[in-house]
């Protein structure tokens, strides 16, 4: 047990380059900032909703009544300013915590109308970790590079990876706890696929492209259910080694693509692999770009 703990501690506290953490700051910050812009209509919609439907959760519980439309737009503006500053690396000791707390406030408020929006939880957790980490020691205005790899850059990245893996495992545990062995019979997943397809139809949208095909191939469904559970419960394998990480990530991306094609459910932060970035040596990305024929020639 002691050996295991020592190995875990060594893994958790492995030094990492400042550029890796900075790359995650840029990627996650950019994703969440763009996400807010893409969802700008949500700020407008919630600014004019019937107050009686307000059912606050999380930090939104400090509110007795919904925010006014003006407050919603002020929140949106503050999110954009702090998000851009954090992503670029300007005053991150202020912009990082400010952005993380504003995102936490927004996601709590967004889920305070009767529907928990799970797809906003993981990037909020990631931002809360990044907000209090030294993410601007590289690839930021005024950064003194090069900085030697250090544990202070390493542990936040490990924590981000653990958070990602944990969310998948929790989803898998929920399936086992709530559905048990019924998860593996054809009916459970078939009914979910049918439910998602009819829901799309009732709101004037097209049914998911592969819903009908999968429901016609019913023998396939238990295997799909088992594969989905394997991806979720197997997420910690991605923390172990490079080959397992690559294998798991490929399976996870296929899982997200299949969920989109059969149920029209796509969570961008996971499905576009932003959630998996802490598993990779992102500091090497510029090197890969320089190796692209033509680009390297011009650079030299």
């Amino acid at each position: 047990m002691t050996v295991m703990l020592a190995r875990f501690e060594a893994w958790l506290c492995a030094p990492a380059p400042a550029e890796r953490l900075a790359a995650i700051r840029i990627a996650v910050g950019a994703f969440v900032t763009v996400y807010m812009v893409v969802n700008v209509r949500e700020f407008d919609r919630l600014g004019s909703r019937d107050p009686s439907a307000f059912d606050p959760i999380g930090v939104a519980r400090v509110l007795d009544t919904p925010l006014s439309a003006t407050s919603m737009w002020l929140l949106f503006g503050a999110l954009l300013v702090s998000g851009c500053a954090f992503t670029v690396g300007i005053a991150v000791r202020v912009s990082g915590p400010a952005f993380a707390i504003l995102v936490l406030s927004w996601t709590s408020y967004h889920s305070s109308w009767g529907q928990l929006l799970h797809f906003e939880h993981l990037f909020t957790i990631h931002l809360l970790i990044l907000a209090f980490a030294p993410t601007a020691q590289a690839w930021a205005p005024g950064a003194k590079s090069p900085v030697a790899p250090d544990v202070r850059f390493g542990w936040p990245i490990r924590l981000l990876a653990i958070a990602t893996a944990t969310t998948y495992v929790l989803s898998g545990i929920a399936k086992l706890r709530l559905s048990g062995m019924a998860w593996f019979d054809a009916d459970t997943l078939a009914n979910h696929i049918g439910y998602s397809a009819v829901r799309m139809e009732t709101i004037g949208a097209r049914q998911p492209p592969l819903a009908s095909a999968v429901l016609q191939t019913r023998w396939l469904i238990p295997f799909m259910a088992a594969a989905a559970l394997a991806v979720e419960l197997g997420a910690p394998l991605a923390l172990v080694g490079r080959k397992l990480r690559n294998g798991w990530m490929l399976a996870a991306l296929l899982f997200h693509a299949a969920t989109a094609a059969t149920m029209q459910v796509f969570f961008g932060y996971r499905g576009l692999a932003f959630a998996m970035l802490p598993l990779f040596r992102l500091e090497l990305v510029p090197t890969y770009f320089r190796r692209i024929p033509g680009r390297g020639h011009r650079a030299s």
């Binding site: 919609r45 009686s52 439907a53 696929i193 049918g194 829901r199 709101i203 949208a205």
Partner: protein, 104 residues
């Protein structure tokens, strides 16, 4: 929500537009709830009906549905066998009218 067992028969709260001849015209998610997210649309419809606000929701949707073709909006509870619906386009196994209103 995808972790729990689900029956093949599911009740949906739906908002539908009616043309001048009484024909059904599907409303978009933005017309219904001002958002493209199906989770939020579904939650909005369910919460408003459960909160006894079907009539006010109907009027709010009617206010957004003025494209000239739609003359009225209805809020209905429709029960489907969801698998049969996808495979064979079967009609609802049960329908209940919850609210109706004219498009201003």
């Amino acid at each position: 929500m995808y972790a729990t067992p689900r029956s093949s028969e599911v009740t949906f709260i739906v908002a539908v537009g009616l043309g001048s001849g009484g024909d059904r015209i599907e409303l978009s998610s933005r017309t219904i709830a001002g958002t493209a997210d199906p989770l939020i649309v579904e939650s909005y419809l369910r919460r408003e009906v459960e909160g006894g606000r079907s009539d006010s929701m109907c009027e709010a949707i009617a206010g957004r549905a003025g494209d000239g073709r739609i003359v009225a909006v209805e809020i209905r509870s429709e029960r489907f066998n969801v698998v049969d619906r996808v495979l064979a386009d079967t009609p609802p196994v049960g329908t209940e009218l919850l609210a109706s209103c004219v498009v201003p």
